[in-house]
Amino acid sequence: MTMTYDDTVMIAVEALTKSFTLHLQGATHIPVLGRMDFALSAGECAVLDGPSGAGKSTLMRCIYANYLPQQGRVLIRHDGALADITHAEPRTILDIRRRSLGYVSQFLRVIPRIPTLQLVMEPLLTLGVAEEEARTRAATLLARLRIPERMWHLPPGTFSGGEQQRVNIARVLVVDYPVLLLDEPTASLDADNRQTVVELVTEACARGAAIVGIFHDALVRDAVATRVISVTPHDRAAA
């Protein structure tokens, strides 16, 4: 079955099925996603909705090709065409991530010992942006997210949870990725910073990014969502 999509489609999820087999626990089988389908166009912000453990983060990680689905596939707009990230070679996945697909994970996981400003500049530098411009853009965003300048030369390893999360957001949103995945980016933020993230997400949508987000905060969700995709716990009996 081959679906056709128009040029505005940025993400297509087709018959995506994901389960885990825990070999160390007597091969326990955990079905999570069963044949999920949806497509998302430029400028849309889809919020994933479902109870804890339903598989929202799992879906997002499948889209990022961090998890491997058993069936189905995910297509991401890359270099003008829809690329099958699920079955791509590692170097192609990395290229899609570098240029087309940004992912704010729930927790910051970065190369240790690298100063915050450098971390935020790095995605721009790998895209060939000049050092000076990269520095300016990184600094602007860190300032907007209220990371005090005196912290920029420190590695974020010792930062508070909320500070780390803001660094995490900055190092993704510093690039204008056409597709963005945001896994609870506002979870440990105060009201002001939450508002800043809402503005950043709204701006990304306005420039035509397609966004998949998980937001537990109802205010944030209502402010950014253009549609809601529900993720229901997989029918365990059927699996």
Binding site: L22, H23, L24, R61, L68, P90, R113
Partner: protein
């Protein structure tokens, strides 16, 4: 983009014992491949077969030669193969003593590789050697000292300089950071990561440390009893391991 290395059905046996069996993969320019697995799983055997240090029992290793294109390295003459390993390739041994010439100075260790690619001007060679010592954070005042007077971490950095000075396209590393203090390891890793990504060098790195591969490798290959049990994108293999052995490996370490 052309493949840099094409490995097909590579097998090495030691009499009745299997070193590694039926390994196939392609490596592209600038790609970093990590090889992990338990002790005795065949990592070093595989690396030595790939890097022309050990002749495989079966299968092929083809390398994209600058002039001839993809060529089975065992079809080359001995001098051709030696030239390849000294210029276009680098080999960083676990034990720096195996990769350095201990009886000549630090500067000569670096300069020697340049002379292998035809450099003759003493002044230029010395300048370049100094430049590389600086890149690997060795005080140029130590250029005339013997490697034996260096610490383990410095020797390992010198070995890296010796290997990278000829601007190789492919570097093989076997446990480059093991046996060093944790803080020295961290500095060495930072150095390898920066140099490899800045110079766009392809790299095959064997390690038992999943933190090292998370940091350095684009792709990961998991070995057990000579076989590759799982391979793929590094973060996918580590975060969503499919094979029982990989799940065991990932669960036995602290989060990285």
């Amino acid at each position: 983009m052309n493949k840099l290395l094409q490995v097909h059905d590579l097998t090495k046996t030691y009499g009745a014992r299997t070193g590694c069996a039926n390994v196939s993969f392609d490596l592209y320019p600038g790609e970093v491949l990590g090889i992990v697995g338990e002790s005795g799983s065949g990592k070093t055997t595989l690396l030595r077969c790939l890097s022309a240090q050990l002749e495989p029992s079966a299968g092929t290793v083809a390398y994209d030669m600058r002039v001839k294109g993809l060529t089975d390295i065992w079809s080359l003459s001995e001098p051709e193969r030696r030239m390849l390993t000294r210029t276009d390739w680098g080999i960083v041994h676990q034990n720096a003593r195996d990769g350095l010439r201990m009886e000549v100075s630090a500067g000569a260790n670096v300069g020697e590789r340049l002379m292998a690619v035809g450099a003759r001007h003493y002044g230029n060679i010395r300048t370049e050697a100094e430049d590389w010592l600086t890149k690997v954070e060795i005080d140029t005042g130590r250029i005339d000292d013997l490697p034996a007077s260096f610490s383990g971490g410095m020797q390992q950095r010198l070995q890296i300089a010796r290997n990278l000075v000829t601007q190789p396209r492919l570097v093989f590393m076997d446990e480059p950071t093991s046996g060093l203090d944790v803080s020295v390891q961290a500095r060495l890793l930072d150095l390898i990561r920066t140099l490899v990504s800045r110079l766009g060098i392809a790299c095959v790195i064997v390690t038992h440390d999943l933190g090292v591969v998370r940091l350095l490798a684009h792709r990961l290959m998991v070995m057990r009893r000579g076989q590759v049990v799982e391979q793929g994108l590094t973060d996918q293999v580590l975060d969503d391991p499919q094979h029982a052995y990989t799940q065991l490996l990932v669960s036995s370490i602290l989060p990285v």
